[in-house]
């Protein structure tokens, strides 16, 4: 079976869902896959809902927009309500359990992973790295690309002004991956 995975990554504006979407797609490119990334913004950049769709494939990518994805990263409750019903049966659903009641996870139908992204990020010293924790868990749970490709892509995706934060972002990615084991 050829490697192929599509993902919707969703949360509040400001949670960094666009950044990890970019990072996932960039790392996929580095790992020799075809990739697409497309953002969808709500009316506001911060506080509104934001989501993006990433497709990673060994084959030529047709549609960059997916109605029924084969994986999800869900950072807040409104995103769970909106996207979990669309996730295909048996597929990976990374849920930010710091902000979402896991009672709402559809464990019967899809493969739910409770990842306390904000709590882990807080322990690492920066709550804003919750997104990286989620992506680390996602890459580990799906196995679509090596975590190393993601860590190696950080300098290409994080703007130069924040490059001093690359080591701590890498730690957050690793912490997320370790949680899945």
């Amino acid at each position: 079976m050829a490697r192929h995975l599509d993902a919707i990554i969703a949360g509040f504006g400001g949670q960094g869902v666009m950044l990890i979407g970019n990072l996932l797609a960039y790392a996929g490119m580095k790992d020799n896959l075809n990739v697409t990334y497309i953002p969808v913004y709500g009316p506001e950049m911060r506080g509104g809902t934001a989501n993006c769709t990433v497709v990673l494939s060994e084959e030529e990518i047709g549609s960059p927009i997916i109605r029924r994805p084969t994986s999800l990263i869900i950072m807040n409750r409104p995103s769970l309500d909106k996207f979990q019903p669309r996730l295909q049966d048996g597929c990976v659903n990374i849920i930010n359990s710091s902000l979402i009641d896991m009672e709402l996870a559809d464990k019967e139908r899809v493969e739910c992973h409770a990842v306390p992204c904000n709590d882990i990020a807080d322990k690492l010293g920066n709550t804003r790295m919750a997104n990286m924790v989620a992506l680390g868990a996602y890459v580990q749970a799906t196995g679509i690309i090596p975590l190393k490709a993601v860590i190696d892509s950080l300098p290409n995706v994080i703007s130069a002004h924040y490059h001093k934060l690359i080591p701590s972002n890498a730690k957050a990615l690793e912490a997320g991956a370790e949680l899945i084991g």
């Binding site: 990334y37 549609s63 109605r67």
Partner: protein
């Protein structure tokens, strides 16, 4: 072993902007509007480094007229906008067509009519392929569906606009503009930076004066100009590009262009996996329209379904192309909705059942 060419991960807008620089575009005149802002954003930083000029004009009207001025001087120049802004540029585009001035115009089509929304749509097909402004004229219209095509076709647009001395439009949409993909940039060789040497306005120093105009009041002059233009449009017909996918044994051929073309490709793959004999015909040049290859498919007895992100525009050209032997069904995706492969699979299945 030769080194793999380096891939870069960029939005379609940036692919267009990089293609323009690779094609030695020396002037860009812009005005902001979503979803094309990354084109002026990128060029405002990179154009001066390449020895060119970037101007943020006071309006779309001004930008289009600056483009006319640069083109008249034989300079490789471009403007970009999105639907409402492109409407504002139409007067100058008509003048450029009438006075045979080369220029590249990029439209990242958004929802309409009016201000519409900032999402993708294909409502500007008629405007692009029928001229758009007043008078009898045509633009060469190129419709990329991937980041790589956006880069490649922008380079091609500069060749074509000087070859035909006719404005060329690159018609994308908010999907193409906003989506990031991996592309391989390349540098074309043998670009003739002075392709306009025989007609452009360069200061009549030690040569006869030249006149570039679209006003022809002398008896017979306008008819003659229209004849010249018509001959040019006839010549352009030899330049068509299109993609056929799984059409060979297809019973039904889906006709779709641009972003909808690539989304239709996903639909065709998924329907093929279910054993349905479906193919895709994707025009890459919208004007000239690839009528001959479509007619060839129609002569094989295939049926057609045109799907667009509008209420039915390109379907007219599909029907004209195949009118002697077949017809095309049509299914709209309404501007304002984000298209997905299911929007295409449904109508295709319905069409297959309804034979």
């Amino acid at each position: 072993m030769t080194k793999q060419p380096e891939r870069i991960f960029v939005k379609g807008n940036e692919a267009v902007a990089r293609g323009a620089l690779a094609a030695h575009c020396k002037c860009f005149f812009g005005y902001p509007i979503t979803p094309q802002n990354e084109i002026p954003e990128f060029l405002s930083a990179e154009m001066p480094k390449a020895g060119g000029r970037f101007v943020q004009a006071e309006s779309e009207v001004a930008a289009a007229n600056m483009l006319l001025g640069a083109g008249a001087c034989g300079i490789r120049a471009m403007t970009s906008s999105s639907s409402p802004g492109i409407s504002l540029k139409q007067e100058a585009i008509s003048y450029m067509a009438g006075s045979e001035i080369p220029a590249v115009i990029v439209n990242m089509n958004r929802g309409g009519p009016g201000l519409g929304d900032i999402g993708p749509a294909q409502g500007d097909y008629y405007q692009s392929t029928r001229g758009g402004g007043h008078g009898d004229y045509r633009l060469l219209v190129l419709a990329p569906s991937t980041g790589q095509e956006a880069y490649d076709l922008t380079i091609k647009a500069f060749d074509l606009t000087f070859k035909y001395r006719n404005p060329v439009m690159i018609l994308g949409d908010a999907i193409l503009g906003q989506m990031k993909e991996a592309i391989i940039p390349w540098q074309p060789e043998n670009i003739d930076d002075e392709a306009g040497r025989d007609w452009s306005l360069t200061g009549a120093d030690k040569r006869e004066k030249r006149l570039i105009k679209s006003l022809f009041l002398e008896e017979g002059a306008l008819a003659e100009q229209n004849r010249t233009l018509q001959t040019k449009y006839d010549d352009m017909q030899s330049y068509v590009e299109y993609e056929e996918f799984e059409t060979e044994d297809a019973e039904l051929v889906v006709c779709a262009y641009g972003s909808i073309g690539r989304i239709a490709k996903s639909a065709v793959r998924s329907l093929r996996a279910q054993g349905k004999k479906v193919g895709l015909f994707r025009p890459i040049t919208l004007y000239p329209f690839p009528s001959e290859p479509l007619l060839a498919l129609a002569r094989q007895g295939k049926r057609f379904l045109t799907i667009e992100h509008n209420l039915g525009q390109m379907v007219d050209d599909v029907r004209l192309a195949i009118r002697t032997v077949a017809d095309s069904e049509f299914a709209p995706i309404f501007p304002g909705n984000l298209p997905v492969p299911e929007d295409i699979e449904g109508p295709v299945l319905k069409c297959l059942e309804g034979k």
